[in-house]
Symmetry: C2
């Protein structure tokens, strides 16, 4: 029930380095230890994915001293197997069914520990039991410390994001050659998932197909609505390829495009391009959001753009940094995120264009390559 | 990115009843409100699955008064669509990207609230931010209140568990007719996932294949080991069919069975049967664990049974009640759980037999039907 992250085993040095830097990030935040349960953060630090289950598995990364891993006895051999040579760097502490693992965590923390940081997605039941066992140690969020590492992608990670993006582009290119009218959203969504897998994704995690009035619901769940001539159709698709996420949106129109929709789309396309063009090192994330929002407001659709402009992407589809009003964080080379403004007119139609963009040393690279024009499909 | 639970829409009355009973369970525990983020609990109470994402979606079920739903603005139309008529029973409060949803939760709680219970799998970042926003309201675990409902299955739920179990049996029956020797664990695992889907599962969530020495690792992750004559092979497979989980384990032997392994398996088989037979209303859960453990210890393998005897099952593969030493909870009609003792001899071999068992008014029903004999495969 664990899935090895597809990086080769010579990568032990990579995980050693990540563990060391995570400890430094903890120290820099006056956090005595990071407590990391199975999650993408766990996979990022240890190189293997363990399932989130009701028995506590917890990686402890102290600001000073070596890391340890509290693991259910019945998963000890699995953990050692997946860790390979890295197991030698960890104190591995198995616990039996009738033991209390939260007290084991307490014993492993240094006696003078004051603050421990819990992984962002740790289950509430674990958080509350740790709080009781560790009292009076204060629990804070581990997100900032781990995200400080994860948000800066290496060239290898950007390569993987690029390949994932191109694979999603292939699915988009293919589906736009197919017939839309007469198929249900659900059928089309299933077909897109198939195309994502055929293009090399290991999992096709979502394939939003919002047609007609459903195109005005940004996270619409594909249903049995039959697509017809005169529909705008928003496609928002993605999955995981080689450990990294793809996420791209394109909008098509079935049949001849009405003048009014064409005008709306033109506003959106210019806004999306303006946001992509705004990306450069040192630019605050919220400036990129504003670049898109300003043009959409000027086009008369200010109230119809009801979400942020984008989200970071990497091993997860949604991660730091968020391209949203209020995030003054300056962009840095290695930041990777979506730029996906949308315009949604309730009851009528909507549109969204989404690319994955990487901030580079001297500007940006847009990873997706499929056409952003409004294509009329059959 | 949401998946409708496959119950028909006349089921609104079902969800109204569940929401009402959840409020009663909260009141009985001196909890002023249950706070439920997207999870299986959320789907159980509202009838649709929403993805767990970084934007807060939170169902508030107060002990007194009607429930409300805090939802990101961009998911409001999706939520209303999925809720159908049930939406009329809820106060739905959308929040915009630049608002703080945790303060909205605070505003929705009654002024005199003292204790709020957070859903078991709520993300730590939400727990810590709720704690800050709700201070000095105490946060406790919502698990006991919601589990009090979920652990007692209705006849309709037992029907679904039975059909899921039979579908997994079909996959087991089929795979045991196929050749094992010469295939890798990974190949066999992929084949089993395919069989689970062919038998009507919507998702094949796990297909453990532990061969040879790997059969001694209970949660072994199938790898490139080539199965050979002389291997014991533990199969532990399951997924979701019609919203409910299957989970069954069988052990086979490739080629002629050595006398020593046959003796080990005989001990295990008698222990598993003894535990199944021990199930009846009023029997403490731990007694079922002891029934298996006693026979395994008497057979000389006491130290080789390194996990609990079983776990509850329903919409999730692992849920209450747990069949484990220390759980004195009396079994009740409608409890459904696995009985899966195992014997693991590190470096050599292991074995496990697992059935889903339902406690009935007058005893028990074993849902799985595939043979529990030690079958020799090619």
């Amino acid at each position: 029930m664990a899935v090895a992250v597809s990086t080769s085993r010579f990568a032990d040095a990579l995980y050693r380095d990540r563990l060391r830097r995570a400890a430094e990030e903890a120290a820099a935040r006056d956090v005595d230890a990071l407590l990391v349960t199975p999650s993408v953060d766990y996979a990022y630090l240890l190189g293997y994915r363990a399932p989130a289950l009701e028995r506590l598995t917890c990686l402890i990364v102290p600001a000073e001293g070596g890391p340890s891993l509290v693991v259910p006895h019945l998963e000890e051999s699995l953990a050692r197997h997946e860790l390979g040579d890295l197991a030698g760097d960890l104190v591995i502490v198995p616990w039996d069914e009738t033991e209390d693992p939260f007290w084991i965590v307490r014993d492993l923390l240094q006696g003078n520990a004051m603050r421990a940081a819990v992984q962002d997605q740790m289950w509430a039941r674990f958080v509350l039991r740790l709080r009781a066992a560790l009292d009076p140690i204060e629990l804070v969020e581990a997100g900032p410390a781990i995200s400080a590492l994860r948000r800066i992608k290496t060239l290898d990670e950007i390569d993987r994001l690029r390949l994932a993006a191109r694979a999603a582009d292939e699915a988009i290119d293919e589906i736009r050659t197919e017939r839309f009218a007469g198929r249900t959203e659900r059928e089309l969504s299933a077909r897109i998932r198939q195309l994502l897998l055929e293009a090399g994704h290991q999992s096709a995690d979502f394939a939003i197909v919002g047609s007609g009035p459903n195109s005005a619901s940004p996270h619409h769940e594909p249903d049995d609505r039959v697509i017809a001539v005169g529909d705008a159709v928003v496609l928002d698709i993605g999955g995981i390829r080689d450990g990294y996420a793809s996420d791209t949106s394109r909008t098509v129109f079935v049949g001849e495009v009405p003048r009014e929709y064409s005008a709306l789309y033109d506003v959106l396309q210019r806004a999306q391009l303006a946001a992509c063009t705004a990306v450069a090192p040192g630019v605050p994330a919220e400036e990129v959001d504003r670049a898109a929002r300003r043009l959409i407001a000027e086009g008369g659709y200010g109230d119809a753009f009801i979400h942020r402009t984008g989200h970071g992407i990497g091993m997860e589809t949604h991660e730091e940094p968020y391209i949203v009003d209020g995030n003054a964080e300056p962009l840095r080379p290695g930041h990777a995120f979506s730029i996906e403004p949308g315009i949604y007119v309730a009851g009528e139609w909507g549109a969204r264009i989404e690319d994955i963009v990487v901030c580079t040393e001297d500007g940006s690279e847009v990873l997706n390559r499929s056409s952003r024009e409004l294509i009329s499909v059959a």
